[in-house]
């Protein structure tokens, strides 16, 4: 953590919002926030993200007939033919199993863990599907699809509802930081501005790509992680840029 005369590090603010700092650090951050509008603003954004996440439904019962369709889809994926990198061979999953593995797999902790994971993923998928149906029109109006230059138009779709809310918070925080950065551009050197603008363009391009992919495949947790990481990089770069002119 930085000293109380400096802005609180973003990671520390996250820990503060999560309540995982030790007592002394909590006290220091708390005092700082009381007297610093910048950190108080960032903390407010973090709190609202947590509050939004807390309001998401914990569970949602799927329709009775959806399991049959999902099971069929999962069974189809089990039979997929898989490429082997480097050798050019095509090997099926069944070819990779050892003879004894099939007999023991139902008793294997790893298999049970995978089964539990599949159950969680299926449950999450159902939840997302249902929520998406309920909120599709509202969200489509709120967040029109982003399309990378030169790419084909994406079919009308929406992001997962949980991420849509998080994206709203990211957008709001980014908007505030962009204002702060724009207000002090004249005090930054041309080289610094070029570096920042180039990096922002790189991040925006990554966000657009990942976002398009997530719109097309809204249940892909990897895409959610990657898109969140790119937003985080943008927030971080803007925060650091906003602090530059005050110290240099």
């Amino acid at each position: 953590m930085k000293g109380e005369r400096e802005h609180i590090a973003f990671d520390t603010l996250n820990d503060y919002a999560d309540g995982v700092l030790d007592e002394r650090s909590m006290s220091i951050v708390s005092k700082h926030i009381e007297s610093c509008s910048v950190c108080a603003g960032q903390y407010s954004v973090l709190r609202s993200v947590l509050q939004s996440a807390a309001q998401l439904p914990r569970t949602l019962a799927p329709p009775d007939d959806i399991w049959a369709e999902l099971k069929e889809s999962l069974d189809r994926r089990k039979e997929a033919v898989l490429p082997v990198i480097g050798t050019g061979h095509i090997v099926s999953k069944a070819d990779q199993r050892s003879p004894g593995a099939t007999q023991k797999r139902w008793q294997s902790p790893a298999f049970l863990a995978v089964a539990a994971l599949i159950l969680v993923i299926v449950s999450s998928g159902i939840t997302a599907l249902m929520l998406r149906d309920n909120n599709a029109q509202r969200l489509a109006n709120q967040y029109p699809s982003v399309r990378a230059p030169g790419s084909a138009p994406v079919p009308p779709s929406v992001l997962p509802v949980g991420f849509t809310m998080a994206e709203g918070e990211y957008s709001r925080a980014i908007g505030e930081l962009l204002q702060a950065v724009d207000a002090q551009r004249s005090r930054l050197s041309p080289e610094t501005i070029r570096t920042v603008d180039r990096s922002l363009a790189v991040i925006d391009s990554a966000i657009a790509e990942a976002r398009n992919a997530l719109v097309a495949d809204p249940n892909n947790a990897t895409l959610v992680d990657l898109l969140s990481a790119s937003y985080q990089r943008k927030l971080d770069l803007l925060r650091r840029t906003s602090e530059l002119s005050s110290r240099i």
Partner: protein, 324 residues
């Protein structure tokens, strides 16, 4: 009044800055110091520079802050409870600050700054600062080359361009840079490095490491990491460190190449996925499978005791597992 000008630059209220140091700033005429001339602007001919020297006793864990227009800074930790700042700067520039007054005992803090009074110089102040081994040092500048050795306390270093090289192993190390490159040669118990375009090169290990860059390369080539999070947007990630027992390392990139160097028989639980890229495994017999909807690839395996965890996520960067 120097102290009022100084506090106006800080965030928040002011801190009493006492003049407990011996100020021995000797003015040097142009041409008096060969090293000083090196920083002058050739277009202006021989640029006059002045020498800087300040020294005083401080607590062994003192917090020392230094910021402003310095272009080179060497921070050296030594086994003495004293502080010495020396160097040169263009004539007419201001070097100011001092030790924080202490109600009892040795001062626990010191702050200095360099203020440029004219444009057109290719380099600013060139400083060397000796600090107690366990001191915490905070330094910020625009474009600067910072070298650190011997400090085992804490370091918080911020630059826009230039470079940072840390060859000691501080307890806490935080480095932020825009296009400046960063080299950490001996690790840090707690380590954070962030750049925009600058490359990051870390060795020596860490209990808790977080390295991120937009387009710079993140390279971790040695040491043991208990918990690591290494991220880029377009920059490559090369990880060749060990993962501590029950430790975990996350490598995340949008389009950078990920190279994971593992020992021949790794004790690792690996979970790698790329949305549209490829995965190559030259370490174990496990083969990647097609990703969701036939795009990209995924690879997961548990090898040896599997008591460490490595997670790789990439959008379109290719992932390679290579033997260390």
């Amino acid at each position: 009044m120097i102290s009022s000008r100084y506090s106006a630059r800080r965030h928040g209220g002011s801190l009493p800055v006492g003049w407990a140091v011996v100020v021995a700033a000797a003015l040097a005429a142009a041409g008096g110091d060969a090293r000083a001339q090196k920083g002058g602007d050739p277009a202006k001919g021989a640029t006059p520079r002045v020498a800087i020297e300040r020294r005083g006793a401080v607590a062994s864990d003192a917090s020392i802050r230094l910021f402003g227009a310095f272009s080179t800074l060497r921070i050296i930790g030594w086994d003495r409870d004293s502080l010495v700042v020396s160097g040169t700067m263009p004539k007419g520039w201001v070097f100011d600050g001092g030790l924080a007054s202490a109600p009892a005992g040795l001062p626990r803090g010191a702050k200095f700054f360099v203020e440029a009074q004219s444009e057109g110089y290719t380099s600013g102040a060139m400083l060397e600062i000796h600090v107690p081994l366990r001191a915490r040092v905070w330094a910020k500048s625009g474009s600067a080359d910072i070298e650190v050795s011997g400090v085992t306390g804490g370091l918080d270093l911020n630059i826009v361009g230039g470079s940072v090289t840390v060859s000691s192993a501080p307890r806490e190390l935080n480095i932020e840079s825009m296009d400046g490159s960063v080299r950490v040669l001996a690790g840090a118990a707690w380590l954070r490095v962030k750049t925009a375009t600058g490359d990051i090169d870390v060795r020596g290990g860490s209990e808790d490491a977080g390295l991120s860059s937009v387009s710079g390369t993140v390279r971790v080539t040695g040491g043991r990491y208990e918990r690591g999070k290494f991220e880029t947007v377009t920059g490559d990630i090369v990880y060749g460190g060990e993962v501590g027992y029950k430790g975990s390392v996350d490598l995340t990139t949008h389009s950078g190449r990920v190279e994971l160097r593992l020992p021949p028989r790794p004790n690792v639980e690996l979970d790698a996925a790329t949305v549209t890229g490829t995965i190559e495994n030259s370490v174990t017999s496990s083969r990647p499978i097609a990703g969701r909807e036939g795009r990209g690839m995924e690879l997961g395996f548990s090898s040896g005791t599997g008591d460490t965890r490595v997670v790789v996520r990439s959008f379109k960067g290719n992932v390679e597992l290579k033997p260390r």
